[in-house]
């Protein structure tokens, strides 16, 4: 299988070609190693970082932004969103605080401080 890909790791957006061969995934057109890693993952098990918000229950009209600490498998994006929507947190919250533990091999962390 051969596919044309655009790298999403950085804004340079390298146009790459990736092919699954017997000796692994062959990548060309990438400017750096991260492109090769992205293309390999995209051909075998694509992943994305999911970002969203969680309501802060003890503050008026306040949301805290969150993300998956590591990228998660693409097919679980909407499952992750459902889990994120179901929770709320209490302030204070610090950047990096774990909001949901153990989610598709990683966790959900806060990306903003709320005093």
């Amino acid at each position: 299988m051969k596919r044309d890909l655009v790298c999403i790791i950085c804004p340079r957006g390298c146009r790459m070609t990736a092919e699954i061969t017997d000796s692994g995934v062959l990548v060309s057109g990438n400017a750096c190693k991260r492109g090769e890693e992205y293309a390999t993952a995209e051909m075998t098990a694509p992943k994305r970082t999911v970002t969203s918000i969680v309501r802060v229950s003890n503050r008026v009209d306040t949301m805290v932004s969150v993300k998956t600490k590591e990228p998660i498998p693409k097919e679980h994006i909407f499952d992750a969103m459902e889990k994120i929507r179901a929770v709320s947190v209490e302030a204070p919250v610090r950047i990096g605080d774990v909001i949901i533990e153990n989610l598709f091999g990683t966790c959900i962390i806060a990306t903003k401080d709320v005093k």
Binding site: I8, P11, G13, T49, T51, M63, S65, F78, I95
Partner: protein
């Protein structure tokens, strides 16, 4: 009247980075003014990731990138006035602000303009039809969703394929809305390629090029829009009109640098960038007033805003210290295929390498940029592709710069 060395208007990414750079250059009497309750500017509502890869070598969300600079501002003890809206700026650098404590007046040795930009609105587009609720600029919808926790709609059409529109297409999809289409009047997208992949293709959202919203329908709430193809003169082709039912229309149709204060101070403007005309230190036509970030030119990446703000911060600090010595000024000119070049003025005797920033007029394949002055070639650069949505940067070495004997032209040729 308070007296300070440097007053910075706006504590977004540009203002914060400029403040830190000025402080670190030895001018410690720096104050930041911002109309919001917190630093960070537009980054506060940009909860998606992808910030900081160039500048900080790590991938952050908007609030995290803002927090990084906020920490640096706090660590230096730089004073920030919150909820202080600047209403006046004079050429002799008197800054007036409205705040909770009443009117604040500052007399500055140098001023850095870092007010950012605002979105072009429906009124600027002349879309026919009714005026129902449910028509938002993409950034307003982003603020409502990400900071206030509202869901702005269930079924959306997005006009304009700039990055904010693409990011919002994904954001609405994640929150369970159906994004029916992204329409782009141009024959190419103005957004970053990576955003088309991870915001549209990941969620099977169609992008219709050379297509616009021809009519808005609905009495109280938006009920639908008519989209249509446009011809080469951007006129709607009637036979292609098509109705799409939706309750939300997001407009991502361009950003306008917020330069009312700049103009009130009599600073000369560029009709190409809609920002001030500046030299390599980002100093405007009024001595001691500098500009950086989206108020100067609309950027694609916050990383480059921070870079530009550092130039302005160092420039303002050097101005306050009386270190400004370069005298030989030449202009920069956009040649074939180039829409604008910034800075518009360069001092050839500055003794430093100078980076020129530019945008091309349309998408190109492989191109070669040539920076020249008369018959002297000062620098060349080859790119595999070039697009209006992606700013280009070419560095002219100081020993080459000195050879410039008149205006410096940047032009490209397809190769």
């Amino acid at each position: 009247m308070q007296k300070h060395d440097i007053v910075i208007i706006g504590a977004g990414p540009a203002g914060m980075a400029a403040a830190v750079a000025a402080y670190d250059s030895g001018v410690k009497d720096v104050v930041l003014l911002d109309r919001e309750q917190d630093m960070g500017g537009i980054l506060r509502q940009c909860i998606h990731n992808g910030f900081g890869l160039h500048k900080l070598g790590t991938e952050l969300t908007g609030p995290e990138y803002a927090a990084h600079y906020k920490q640096m501002v706090s660590d230096r003890g730089i004073k920030v006035y919150y909820e202080a809206t600047v209403t006046g700026l004079t050429p002799d650098k008197i800054v007036t602000a409205q705040s909770r404590e009443g009117i604040l007046k500052f007399e500055a040795k140098a001023v850095i303009l870092a007010m950012g930009c605002r979105e072009r609105s429906r009124g600027a587009l002349n879309i026919s039809g009714t005026r129902p609720a449910g028509v938002y600029s993409a950034g307003t919808a982003q603020k409502l969703m990400n900071m206030e926790g509202y869901r702005v709609g269930k079924k959306a059409v997005i006009l304009g394929s700039g990055d904010i529109g693409l990011i919002m297409a994904r954001r609405m999809s994640l929150e369970g809305a159906k994004v029916e289409a992204v329409c782009e009047i141009m024959s190419y997208s103005g957004g970053l390629m990576r955003n088309i992949v991870q915001c549209l293709e990941d969620y099977d959202i169609p992008l219709y090029l050379s297509t616009t919203v021809a009519e808005i329908h609905g009495k109280d709430r938006l009920e639908g829009v008519t989209i249509a193809k446009v011809d080469e003169n951007m006129r709607v082709i009637d036979s292609t009109r098509r109705y799409i039912e939706c309750d939300t229309l997001l407009l991502s149709v361009g950003l306008i640098p917020e330069n009312e204060l700049t103009k009130s101070a009599g600073i000369k403007m560029s009709p190409l960038t809609n920002g001030a005309l500046v030299d390599e230190n980002r100093e405007t036509s009024v001595e001691g007033i500098f500009a950086c970030g989206n108020v100067l030119q609309v950027h694609d990446l916050v990383d480059y805003v921070s870079d530009e703000a550092e130039i302005a911060g160092i420039g303002a600090a050097n101005y306050v210290k009386g270190l400004k010595t370069a005298k030989k000024a030449v202009g920069t000119v956009a040649g074939n295929g180039v829409r604008y070049v910034l800075p518009q003025v360069v001092h050839t005797d500055s003794g430093e390498d100078i980076a020129l920033f530019m945008r091309v007029v349309k998408p190109y394949g492989k191109v070669k940029f040539t920076v020249s002055s008369g018959n002297n070639v000062l620098a060349t650069a080859t790119r595999l592709k070039a697009a209006p949505g992606e700013m280009e940067k070419i560095v002219v070495k100081k020993d080459k710069l000195i050879e410039a004997n008149g205006d410096i032209t940047v032009a490209l040729e397809e190769i």
